[in-house]
């Protein structure tokens, strides 16, 4: 048991209401806002158009001024979801697609209902060009900067993700990284939100695959606890002839089937 001097004890216990009265006096003397609480401003989100997906992220959409990542195995629907999100964003804001694969079809954005007028496609000849273009466009104010690569390892210069994050903060746009492979540490530590897609089953129409059901799960988040998920019906945009009696399929992102918050952690699912 330790004994404290009497004076020290008095200093450690401030008078009740002293802080409030001091704050009140400061506000009265210097005006409202002279003293503010240190909480950061709430993060804004870029709406995805799917309420269940918006509800997962903690900021009602893809977080602005941050980098998010959409990942999943081949045929999990991650790429289609990314393109659909780009198409949705292009309906109201400018969208830049930095295509490190050099194989992306920008017509897919238009097929998903996007506005090509608001769409900028970057086909870099080197990774430095791609990151510089992403940084410049994010700084100029594009609403969504989508970066797509087959394999991120070897594509990321050390300081590029930090510079992109600063540019996104300045332009208040959302960054979204798509693609597989091992993510370099310089990029991984800048990612604020990771959404992982899990393939559930295919959707069929008169013998053809017309879409898929996927589960989107928050596998990593700086904005809240991971683990929440929702199920989405992703319909491919190509128009399929429909048999009488079948419900007409709609474009991806326009309709959601279910939104089931699943409490278990990401790694324990499969």
């Amino acid at each position: 048991m330790s004994v404290k001097p009497a004076g020290q004890e008095r200093r450690a216990k401030p008078r009740a209401g002293a802080l409030e009265s001091a704050l009140s006096a400061l506000s009265h003397r210097y005006g409202e806002g002279a003293v503010r609480a240190g909480a950061p401003p709430p993060l804004q989100g870029l709406a995805t158009g799917v309420s269940a997906l918006d509800g997962l992220t903690g900021c009602q959409g893809l977080p602005r001024s941050r980098i998010s990542r959409l990942l999943g195995k081949p045929s999990s629907g991650a790429l289609d979801l990314g393109l659909a999100l780009a198409a949705k964003a292009s309906q109201s804001e400018s969208v830049a697609l930095v295509d490190f694969t050099l194989e992306m079809d920008p017509g897919a954005v238009e097929a998903y209902g996007g506005e090509l007028d608001n769409f900028w496609l970057v086909r870099p000849r080197s990774s430095e060009e791609g990151w510089a273009a992403a940084r410049a466009l994010a700084k100029a104010g594009v609403g969504l900067c989508l970066l797509v690569a087959d394999d991120w390892s070897g594509l990321t210069p050390g300081a590029a993700p930090a510079a992109l994050l600063a540019a996104l903060s300045e332009g208040a746009g959302a960054g979204l990284v798509l693609g597989g492979g091992r993510i370099p540490a310089a990029l991984k530590e800048r990612i604020c939100l990771e959404l992982e897609c899990w393939h559930l089953d295919w959707s069929w129409a008169h013998g053809d695959i017309c879409g898929l059901r996927t589960e989107v799960q928050v596998s990593r988040s700086h904005l809240g606890a991971p683990g929440a998920s929702c199920q989405l019906q992703l319909n491919f945009p190509r128009p399929y002839p429909l048999r009488i009696g079948l419900q007409e399929s709609v474009a991806i992102g326009d309709e959601e089937l279910a939104a089931e918050p699943l409490p278990q952690a990401a790694g324990s699912r499969r």
């Binding site: 608001n118 900028w120 496609l121 060009e129 100029a140 104010g141 208040a172 746009g173």
Partner: protein, 413 residues
């Protein structure tokens, strides 16, 4: 600002609209001296327009009415109907606006039209100027004189020298030569400057054009610069375009009568949003807004004017285009409103419509950056890395194939 295009202006001079109205009502007065009067500053009556015979007797617009009566004792003295004059002015403006989007209306006896635009149907400016002349002739019933030049003054002089129904062109680069014989006393400069020029022995524009601008400025100050430009046909080449004021306003019917000004103020934001939307649709900004509050009891009041409980106007220093800009003046109007009975209808009208000012929107939010900022960023990227880095695509009509390179039109600039 550098001027990238060659300016070509047409000046149309015609009989004053007030005279046109008089002649329509009294065709027998066409060859007679006619004086049309109006209320001048201070309430005194002045001459608004005078016909050519009256002009020959010394009557000028703006002259005191009593003096005009002395100068032209046998002239017919009439007054113009303001409503008919406004309607005639509007029809003439609309006729010219069909020829060119840039039309400046003068003093009801002249108009300027910018001819520098491209008209594939009439590539020659003479034909375009003649089209403007025909439009005025059809709208007013009088034949105008048309002059075309690189500046306002040279075009006006050309119109003065042209016969009615004819177009006089000042060739490009020949304005100074064209104006060389124009007397300095007829220049739009202060009379004392013209008088001193005559005393110096400089009687025409050609005499003044040989003097440098520095020397003229040393003698006459800013008037010397204007004189130098006028004599060389280098005065203002632009027009202040007229825009038709379309009715712009919003009207909201309140459910049940509201007799509390606090409650009405809650609806101000919705009213401001509605008017801002309407202004945005027309691409204009309001210089003045008017708030009208209508009453509840329609049986007690028979006319619309009686049912108006209260109205007020406000004209802030800067035009208003957005809901945020409208909110402040609107709230000030609501705070002044005095309610004598419950309000059922609220109307907000916009007047003095002008082109909206350039606003810096979303200063702290980059997502509001417009496409121009992104284009400039793309240009810088192309300068740095070469073209072919950033692409725009659009769907090629006809869907020629499934390959993106065939299905889409690619452009890097």
């Amino acid at each position: 600002m550098s001027q990238s295009r060659k300016a070509r202006l047409a000046c149309l001079t015609f009989s004053h609209l007030a005279l046109v109205l008089v002649w329509r009502a009294h065709p027998e007065l066409k060859q007679e001296p006619v004086l049309v009067g109006s209320q001048g500053p201070g309430g005194r009556q002045v001459v608004m327009a005078a016909s050519a015979p009256a002009w020959a007797q010394g009557v000028r617009p703006g002259q005191d009415w009593r003096r005009a009566e002395v100068l032209c004792p046998l002239g017919a003295r009439l007054s113009a109907d303001p409503t008919a004059l406004t309607e005639l002015r509007r029809s003439a403006r609309l006729a010219l606006a069909a020829c060119s989007p840039l039309v400046e209306w003068g003093d009801d006896a002249s108009a300027y039209v910018d001819l520098a635009g491209n008209d594939p149907l009439r590539p020659q400016e003479g034909l375009r100027a003649a089209q403007c002349g025909r439009a005025i002739e059809e709208a007013l019933g009088v034949t105008p004189s048309v002059g075309v030049g690189p500046s306002r003054f040279s075009a006006w002089v050309a119109a003065q020298r042209a016969d009615p129904g004819r177009v006089r062109l000042v060739p490009e680069g020949k304005a100074a030569e064209f104006l060389a014989n124009w007397p300095v006393t007829e220049l739009p400069i202060p009379p004392q400057v013209a008088e001193r020029l005559v005393q110096f022995g400089l009687h025409t524009c050609g005499d003044c054009a040989s003097i440098t601008m520095a020397e003229l400025q040393r003698q006459f100050g800013p008037d010397g610069i204007l004189l130098h430009r006028l004599c060389r046909g280098q005065d203002s080449a632009g027009v202040d375009p007229w825009r038709e004021e379309l009715p712009c306003g919003v009207r909201r019917v309140l459910a049940g009568g509201v007799d509390d000004s606090e409650s009405l103020r809650f609806g101000a934001a919705e009213l401001a949003r509605g008017l801002a939307q309407e202004l945005s649709r027309q691409g204009q900004a309001a210089g003045r807004i008017r708030l009208l509050l209508h009453g509840e009891d329609e049986t007690r009041h028979s006319t619309q004017a009686d049912r108006q409980l209260w109205w007020g106007e406000v004209a802030p220093p800067a035009p208003m285009a957005t809901a945020d800009e409208l909110m402040g003046p609107l709230l000030s109007l609501f705070s002044k409103a005095r309610l004598l009975a419950p309000v059922t209808v609220v109307e907000l009208e916009a007047f003095d419509l002008v082109a909206p000012p350039v606003n810096q929107i979303g200063l702290w939010q980059g997502r509001a950056a417009d496409r121009e900022v992104i284009k400039r960023a793309v240009d810088r990227l192309h300068d740095r890395f070469g073209t072919g880095l950033v692409w725009r695509v659009e769907v090629r009509p006809g869907h020629p194939g499934d390959v993106p390179e065939e299905r889409l039109v690619w452009s890097s600039r």
